[in-house]
Amino acid sequence: MIFTLAWRYWRGRGLRSLLTALAVVCGVMLTFGLNGVTPTLTKAFEKNMLNASGKTDLSVAEKSGQTFPASVADELAAIPGIAAVSPYLQQPAPLPKRPVSDPSVNALAQVTVVGIVPDKAARVRDYTVSAGRMITAGDAAAMVANSDVAGQLGLTLGDTLELPAAAGVVKFRLVGILSGTTMPGEEQVVVSLSAAQQLFGAGARINAIDATFSDGTDRAQVEQLVKARLSDKYTIGGLTSNSSLLSSMEMASTAFMMFGLFAMATAAFIILNSFRMLVAERRRDVGMLRAIGMKRRTVVGMFLVESLFQGVVGTGLGLLAGWGMASGIFVLMAPITKDLMHIDLGGPIFTPETWAVSIILGVGVTILAAVLPARAAGKVTPMEAMRPQVGEKYTKDMRRRGWIGLGILVVSLFGLFSRDSGLVGLASVLVLVAIALAVPAVVIPVADVAIKPLQAVFGREGPIARSNIQRNPGRSGVTVTAVMLGMAAIVGMITVINSIFTGYLAYLDKSMSSDYLVIPSSIVLSQGNVAAGPGLARQLGETPGIAAVSTLRVGQGQVGGLDVQVIGIDPAKYLDVASLEWNTGSSDNAVRQLASGRWVIANGIYASSNALTPGQAIVLDTPNGLRTYYLAGIGNDYLNAKLATLYTSQENLQRDFNVADDLLVMANRAANADPDTVTARVQRVVAGYPAFNLYEPDTWKAEQSAIFDMSMIMFYVLIAALAVPSLLALINTLSISVLARTREIGMLRAVGATRRQVKRMVLAESLLLSLIGTVVGAAAGVILGYALVLALSAIGWEMPYSFPTAGIVTATVVGIAFGMIASSGPAKSASRLNVVDALHHE
């Protein structure tokens, strides 16, 4: 029975049910959609990184590098947690000299032939064909290659390449060009496994297997299973689970979850408001149901079941909208990642956890928000059935709640400015709770003040609108809170985003201040980038007109079992072309100190998370064993601000990490050199290193700004999604307010109020509510934004605080616009009320 009643009531509310459901839709959309983005990005970045570095989740090879039976791949595939395996045979093949005039055609002395099973390999690595076709399993004399390799081989589609076979020579025809770039020394051509086995006389054997894990697999556990299954003559390699990339993605996932939670909190207020009104509207129905024998708990259950319908429909639509949003984000991001980061994104991936969290959050929050109104409904006495319909009843002790709110606000301010990220997070939530508690208590005096700016426009209707707000401070308070949450989100987010971007641009100016930057295509991620031998820096240094050259090299180490990237710089030259943004207490002296032994500079995030102070010893796990380093200072550069990073001298990096290749080369022109001439010379040098791009500061900064701008679009979409629930809250409250005052509006019309005046009265009420919400929200947003910037600085990500003037202006405009939009429907229906009907309305 209660299901039928709840369902009919829910359906009967029509548009209002839908409006309330929209609040849930926003929350679920953000939670589901954003969390559908992260796994795909992780996967895409991982794939890119793997492609670049030649690693997969897991790789198996024979210890001495010998071939082994292909059946080992089947054994591997049977292990739980392994999603796909790709057996292959890979061997270098010398290239015969070809009699052509262009010397660049013979630039390669050898090429690595990789024999794959195409359908299996495609599940493990990215083999996107940009021209022609992919090889098939049966292709005996076909091959594909990256365009740069094809270029170096002087081949175009349809051309053949002769490779020395175990007996004689085999001709392979180039049937397809793969997208992607190649690392120097890693030039490959891809053929079918059977063709490779024939070429090298390997029979049915292979010499490596790549494998990927199923989503959500415990890497360490699967590796253990693989080790247990295969004999110890095999080596097992792969990604480490705590790579900084994966932890960055986890952070993004957490941040996205916070967005969703914020939106759901706003939704909760809207649902609370809606259900309070429902209870008020249905007092007589409930009274009758109680009179004819419905128990209190059944009444409560009926409202909760109705909220369940609300939650299920809202969540369902939210999941759909989330999918749409995630797909939209990919459509927006795909060109950026493709052009600037050389990563191909797929579609959104929704993990079982994302489904579960979104559904539980959507349905759960809706039901929780309805609990209080449902309990109030349970308290309706049967005598309500005997009375004419009355308006809402608010008997809450608002003053007491106001004082509690004020108390929480004061306590949470200490947390906000504690500079402890955990405390700031908790205090931020508490501030919003405190304001929500205090708003109903202050809405009466605040409305008295807030009406003043509106008085000029709404002379006669203003005071009526004010009294409408003041007579029901509970309902007005909930609306103001919902608007406040949206506006606080706008202002707070814009503060943090602006501060981050201002900080980044400062880093960019300082640490990328050289005249020329020579950077691998996918520099955004430190791991898996192509490195250049010493030739590039040397050639640049020898280029006439170049005054100074400095390079960055990257190694990987561990401290306490966790990954850290170790960047090697040349202490003598680094400061000539670049600089670090120093944290308090550190200076350029730290760079010079790197030359005097095992010293490192930590970046802010790493120093903060490990509570490092200058002079402290750090035991680094290097490829050559444990080495003790000492901390010379704490500083940040643009590229590595977010990754756990240590800087040391290139000498240390070579000695302890065996890294002597340059990842990034920076060069400055001589003071009197002609820029155009020098640039042309540098271009010629860099042309010999196809994996690298040459940037001048302006183009580099322009490219980075383009990435920022595109990111900003995404942030604006997110901010809009956070603000929409505020609009819904306003619409909801005004509709309810008009409905509750139908008889009163009829009376006003009867005594001579014009339709226009009634309309203006509703508009004034709407504007007043949104104005109060915006002012409170902007104040809360400024506080939250400032506290978040402090918290980010406290974890080592130092950034200048940027006052959110734009955010406040945006919030005010949005607030006023929302006030006007929200009032249009209810104002129209109020002004169109039939006077006689309205006077008889119960």
């Binding site: 009967g12 004819i292 024998g293 059935a385």
Partner: protein
């Protein structure tokens, strides 16, 4: 002598405290026998609605007791009173109080459904047909006239086969023709279907359909007399008691 369905003993209800204290009901003793149709009349504020609320267990008395079909309401918990209302008492309200999103059948079946009766729909349809709405079973309240809505409310009140029907101004929101039809229906409920009906009304013409008239003033019963079907008797009684 038939069974006593309703009995009140020194039933008192006081609202407010101190200077604002109002005695709505001042020690009322009333007995109603099974199968009778009682009309309660009196000026506004005389306590008739309060009496009805107390009889129905919708409100609790300040002192005194109400006994319905042998059960003293004072001895029952809130849940037990709720059950008693569901099974032994039917209500008919001035404003019909039908659930707007349910059909006539669903509205009439409500108390039975609350009681988990598997025959709820069949019984509801049967009662709706008996009250003359056999062709309106699947209509929602907004598709019915006021009189028809009140018939649905009567069918709902009768659906659980209660001993007592309490009607609070059941014709107060109806036109004259519909009001007469509802009054006739309530009389039929008593005479034909053997239920006890206690009706509060302002309208002497409607009260004339009852078997017994109780007049109240200032929280007290001032007259209690049998009616013989004469349409003028209630008005005469009111005049005699000085209530008009």
């Amino acid at each position: 002598m038939s069974e006593v369905i309703v009995q009140t003993k020194s039933l008192t209800k006081v609202y407010g405290a101190g200077a604002a204290q109002v005695t709505a009901l001042g020690g009322v003793d009333l007995s109603v026998y099974a199968g009778t149709f009682v009309a309660v009349m009196g000026p506004s504020g005389c306590g008739k609605s309060t009496l009805l609320n107390l009889l129905g267990g919708l409100d609790t008395p300040t002192s005194g007791d109400v006994v319905i079909a042998g059960d003293s309401l004072a001895d029952l918990s809130d849940d037990k009173v709720t059950e008693l209302r569901r099974r032994r008492i039917g209500f008919v309200f001035q404003f019909f109080n039908l659930i707007p999103v349910l059909t006539a059948t669903e509205n009439a079946a409500l108390p039975l459904r609350l009681d988990g009766d598997p025959q709820a729909s069949e019984k509801a349809r049967e009662w709706l047909t008996r009250v003359g709405l056999g062709d309106r079973l699947d209509n929602r309240p907004d598709q019915l006239s006021g009189g028809q809505q009140q018939r649905v409310a009567v069918a709902r009140a009768l659906s659980t086969d209660p001993a007592l029907i309490l009607a609070d101004e059941p014709t107060g929101n109806l036109d004259s023709k519909s009001a007469t039809e509802i009054a006739q229906l309530l009389a039929q409920v008593s005479t034909k279907w053997g239920r006890t009906v206690l009706m509060v009304t302002h309208d002497p013409r409607i009260a004339a359909f009852a078997h017994r008239l109780v007049l109240m003033r200032d929280g007290q019963i001032v007259d209690d007399m049998p009616l013989d079907g004469s349409s003028t008797a209630p008005r005469a009684a009111l005049e005699k008691a000085g209530l008009v």
